[in-house]
Amino acid sequence: MSKFGTFAGILLATTLSSGAAFAQTTLSMWYHGAGSEQEVSILNQITADFNASQSDWKVELQAFPQAAYNDSIVAGALAGNLPDIVDVDGPVMPNWAWAGYLQPLQIDETKIASFLPGTKGMWDGKLYSIGLWDAAISLVTRQSILDELGLRTPTLEQPWTKDEFMDALSKAKASGKFEYALDLGTAWTGEWYPYAFSPFLQSFGGDIIDRSTYKTAEGVLNGDKAVEFGTWWQSLFTDGYAEATQDPAARDAGFNSGKYAFSWNGNWAALGTLAAFDDVLFLPAPDFGNGPKIGAASWQFGVSAKSAHPDGASKFIEFALQDKYLAAYSNGIGLIPATASAAAMTENYKEGGKLAVFYGLSEKQALVRPVTPSYVVAAKVFEKALADIAKGAPVADTLDAAVDEIDADIEKNGDYGF
């Protein structure tokens, strides 16, 4: 009822505030965040402002629950009935662009020069999507834990090496104060696995797909570096540092209740941890040899290929890229604003803000997931391989099988146009 009320209110406001409402062409937009009232209300504000700011276009928003969103887009595309503006998860974008759901944005690249690299959805040399925010992961712990275990505080310039990280885990385990040393979030299935764990693989020197050709995973997902990664990954569980089956409740509240010494978690969970302890540290990813890495790219806006009004759709997206909206999203749901100037306007990401460290992490360590249409399938294969290895499957054979599956998919799709 309240949602309908807001919606009706906005409709009324937009109709009243712009006398030329009759001349406006309607642009439809789909959004994935139906469950989150804050997100939708911010976006409603943006569309209301946009509709009032000019007399050519009128954006109408329809929000979907996140779990059903991608399916809705695929079904909409098959039925030939996509909206003008869509939002799309960063790593999925190349798949949709390749499949012909999206068209390049008509936005001048100088306008987004200052945006974090992870927010720009580039495919085939063109900008297909742009994000108002990014997300980042850090190794969450407390200063008191580091002091107690006698560990050096890693910095962005000098993160922990693999040895220092493993030393930290073994000291945490030996202290006997924690149920497990490390909370990896294995309870979160789905995109969390490739998003959170493939940066470890990349830091070892492997990858999900060979980014030099994008035609195979052979050698990068089952090469020596990858096997080294897989062996290390398995040892986290066999040595008792982390749990392969995690209770979702333990993921949500475990670190805050002292169950773990370290937690590998995203900035969206940071505010809760800050509320639980007053000496929280958000440490950069350890360097496993090939530089420290974390995942980049979150949800972004794009224009559907079938849109009859791509100019208007792009105008709306450009309108949404104003710093005040980036800041509003960040203040509302804790995401990293896409520009430094917007970060300065926010509560948590301004100079000295509680989450400012994430802006640095995103800038310094973030690496986008492989930019290829095959990512959608490869991500699922990768997730299964990691879950199996965590449960004790033989490392090299499991990675070989994953490579075969990814390669077979790429071949079935005519190399995805590469």
């Binding site: 390749w98 392969a244 089956t245 959608v376 699922k380 294969v381 199996d388 449960k391 998919d409």
Partner: protein, 357 residues
């Protein structure tokens, strides 16, 4: 039979029409599509044109090979041995990956192995996950069909009595059937929880803490069993009702006659009740078998096929491939294979339970 269809029977066709039409549009037609798609490389989303690939999808799913490894030999032909004196064998990986000498095994993986005679023999499969899915599904059916049917019959006999408040028991036994299987699966996930689940707490309390806590859904050895137990509990009430309807069609005069003859309870069951339930039994057996082969929701909610593929099933694989991995042709192929399996088993069941002349 034939005359009934050929005879002018407009009302009958009018009544059957809506259902027949819906079944044709939403079941028969998609299934014919699935058969067609299983011979192509159709993707869920792709700008590439669909191509006919013949039996490639079936070969990919069902390909099997048997390999007996020969020990490694030195230049003189003597068998190389490790420190314990056991012969050294090449790794399986070196045979199945990039080995031009064994093109027939390329891309295959070990399904299982055994030692027959001197050298280890490996059974390789092109798609090990699907093979495991088939085996798991059969285990599920073989356990669920008799146990669920038997328990349901037991419950039906219990509640087929004139007692005060018997309807309350009927309602309680039937309740799990009314609840959505997704909700039931979510609840049982909490019951099976490895650290603080109800089942572990119960076992710990009963054994005064002697039994170790088991991560029921997280261990390959217990996951499928846990899902079998939960599935039997969930659907047993449905089959109980069917048994009950069968029990109530048996004429009371037969029981009266049996009582006059002075037969024991067992004799009544063996010679009156059981023969009277014959057709019900055939129906229940076939329905349970078909439902059990369609095992999906519990897997999707509770384990996602893991741990280590111990709960993969045929239907879960079909959905996982068709939608998760956007491979509609692969998913269709699995559906067709499942249809062939279920259809053959139903035919065999019909044959075995036929009315003997």
């Amino acid at each position: 039979m034939a005359s009934k269809f050929t005879r002018s029977n407009r009302v009958g066709w009018l009544m059957a029409g809506p259902a027949a039409l819906l079944i044709a549009v939403f079941v028969v037609l998609p299934f014919i599509f699935a058969i067609g798609l299983s011979f192509t490389n159709q993707r869920l989303i792709s700008p590439n044109p669909t191509e006919f690939v013949g039996l490639a999808n079936y070969e990919q799913l069902l390909g099997i090979g048997v390999l007996t490894l020969e020990p490694e030999r030195d230049a003189a032909g003597a068998v190389l041995r490790d420190a314990d004196g056991a012969p050294k064998y090449p790794t399986l990986r070196s045979v199945t990956r990039n080995n031009p000498d064994f093109p027939q095994f390329a891309g295959m993986r070990e399904w299982f192995s055994f030692q027959l005679g001197e050298h280890p023999t490996y059974v390789l499969a092109r798609d090990v996950v699907f093979m495991k899915a088939i085996v798991n599904t059969f285990i599920f059916v073989i356990v669920v069909a008799p146990v669920q049917a038997g328990l349901a019959l037991g419950l039906a006999l219990l509640i087929n009595q004139r007692l005060k408040g018997i309807n309350l028991f009927r309602a309680i036994y039937f309740m799990p059937v009314v609840v959505s299987i997704v909700v039931v699966s979510l609840l049982w996930r909490f019951i099976y929880d490895g650290s603080s689940g109800l089942l572990n707490n119960l076992l710990a309390a009963l054994s005064f803490g002697a039994l170790p806590r088991i991560d029921w859904l997280g261990e390959p050895s217990t996951a499928l069993g846990a899902i079998i137990a939960m599935s039997i509990w969930q659907a047993v009430g449905f089959h109980m009702v069917i048994w009950l309807s069968g029990l109530q069609t048996i004429s009371p005069t037969l029981y009266e006659a049996a009582a006059i003859e002075g037969s024991s309870k067992w004799q009544v069951f063996r010679y009156v009740t059981w023969p009277g339930l014959r057709n019900t039994a055939v129906l229940i057996l076939i329905v349970i078998t078909m439902q059990a082969f369609a095992l999906f929701s519990q897997i999707d909610v509770m384990t996602g096929g893991g741990p280590l593929d111990s709960t993969q099933t045929i239907v879960f694989q079909a959905v996982e491939r068709g939608y998760g991995k956007q491979d509609i042709s692969g998913g269709s192929t699995i559906s067709v294979i499942l249809f062939v399996i279920v259809f053959s088993i139903s035919l065999i069941q019909r044959y075995l339970t036929r009315e003997k002349q």
